[in-house]
């Protein structure tokens, strides 16, 4: 993001006082094998989903803490965004989904041998949550287990 100092007063104050889930220690898992042999997944908080999947829905209690599966071989033409926030410029993702979901870039890295392979599935959450409890305790660990079951070594996390 641009430095907070150049934003409007309202946006700057909202971000300064945003209720982050603060922590002291840092979990640490070094990459177990060379990057060129690693399976890499994208997990984005851009509120993306397949065109035929359910859009993110605030009507449901906890609806914003759910996630959607983005198969690694899905055509990007089949992926849309139902993010709640309008505090971001959507023209970028209208032009190029890789701006927040760099699946084409990842496939190019696999072709060049920089990474081993692109994961079978990638995942999408809703971003800008004011309460991350359910994501931290339930849906996040669920997706971690799915990623591990699918042989993922490294996760690239991207916001919108």
């Amino acid at each position: 993001m641009p430095r907070l100092s150049i934003l409007s007063e309202v946006q700057r104050r909202m971000l300064e006082f945003f209720p982050c889930m603060e922590a002291d220690g840092v979990p640490w898992t070094p990459l177990a094998k060379p990057l060129s042999e690693s399976t890499v997944a994208i997990v984005t908080t851009a509120g993306l989903h397949l065109r035929d999947d359910r859009p993110f829905n605030r009507d449901h209690p906890g609806g914003e803490s759910t996630y959607r599966v983005l198969p690694g071989d899905a055509d990007v033409a089949d992926i849309v965004q139902s993010h709640f926030s309008i505090g971001f410029d959507r023209t970028a993702i209208y032009r190029d989904i890789n701006i927040t979901y760099p699946i084409d870039r990842l496939q190019e890295l696999a072709e060049r041998g920089v990474i081993g392979s692109v994961a079978t599935n990638n995942y999408s959450f809703m971003g800008a949550l004011r309460d991350c409890t359910v994501v931290a305790e339930q849906t996040g660990p669920e997706v971690a287990q799915l990623l591990k079951d699918e042989g993922v070594d490294l996760v690239l996390l991207t916001p919108t």
Binding site: M1, P2, L4, I6, L15, E16, C20, M21, E22, A23, D24, V26, P27, W28, T29, P30, L31, A32, L35, V43, A46, R51, P55, N57, D59, V76, A77, V80, Q81, S82, I86, G87, F88, D89, R90, T91, A92, I93, Y94, R95, N98, I99, P102, D104, R105, L109, F125, V135, A136, G140, A144, L147, K148, V152, L154, V155, L156, L157, T158, P159
Partner: protein, 235 residues
């Protein structure tokens, strides 16, 4: 996003993240994070610029070299817009300008933009339109629904799924219409930048004015939930 990095890393996965708000990354402390000096919506810096996006990804991957964390690296190069105009400000400025061309009705406008929208889709092979599931050739129905919703809470649409409230559905409709109009405009005037398109949409189009009128009605209700919907429609 930084919370997920911690959850995944705790579960035994290696993570590298992009952060747009450096101050939040400092507080949440994900294991490895690259702060990028780009505006919201531009996590990898520049749309349609694979080389630049690869540079950002390479900077993310470079954080893997650290033997201990947290690692908070800064991306050195700025790119893209530094902000976005507020819809309400653009609309207000436009209303004060009596010489500004007044648009067609919203339904006519959608019909007039259709050719450009279809050109965009053909050129790009993808579209951001599709949250409502209603094909764009039937967007005049969405317009009729939103025009009614701008007047009253009683408005509804047969296509609304049972588990989606009317305000949430109105938001999906507004998102689909915005994507339709923006994509049409990008095909019509490829040289326009983001700021030009925001100003056009909120200042000159009947669809922008319609969405803004819903925002104003919902805001006037005093109902916090409806006001939250209003905030999501335009701000």
């Amino acid at each position: 996003m930084s919370v997920l990095a911690r959850v995944f890393e705790s579960a035994g996965l290696t993570t590298v993240a992009v952060a747009l708000v450096r101050e939040h990354a400092e507080r949440v402390r994900p294991p490895r994070v690259l702060w990028v000096p780009f505006y919201f919506g531009y996590a990898l810096g520049k749309p349609d610029d694979p080389d630049f996006q690869h540079q950002v990804i390479a900077a993310m991957l470079a954080t893997l070299e650290a033997e201990a964390g947290p690692v908070l690296a800064d991306y050195p190069e700025e790119a893209g817009p530094i902000g976005m105009p507020q819809a309400s400000e653009v609309a207000e400025a436009s209303n004060g300008n009596s010489s500004a061309a007044k648009p067609l009705d919203a339904a006519g406008e959608v019909t007039a933009l259709r050719g450009y929208y279809e050109r965009w889709q053909e050129q790009r092979g993808r579209t951001a339109v599709g949250i409502t599931g209603i094909p764009q050739r039937r967007f005049r129905g969405i317009i009729r629904f939103l025009e009614a919703y701008a007047e009253s809470d009683d408005a509804d649409m047969d296509e609304r799924p049972a588990d989606v409230s009317v305000p949430q559905f109105a938001r999906y409709c507004a998102d689909d219409l915005k994507a339709f109009c923006y994509e049409a405009r990008m095909a019509q005037r490829p040289g326009d930048n983001e700021m030009d398109i925001h100003r056009w949409f909120w200042g000159e189009t009947a669809v922008g004015a319609l969405i803004d009128s819903i925002t104003q009605r919902l805001n006037a209700t005093g109902d916090a939930k409806l006001q939250a919907t209003a905030y999501g429609l335009s701000r």
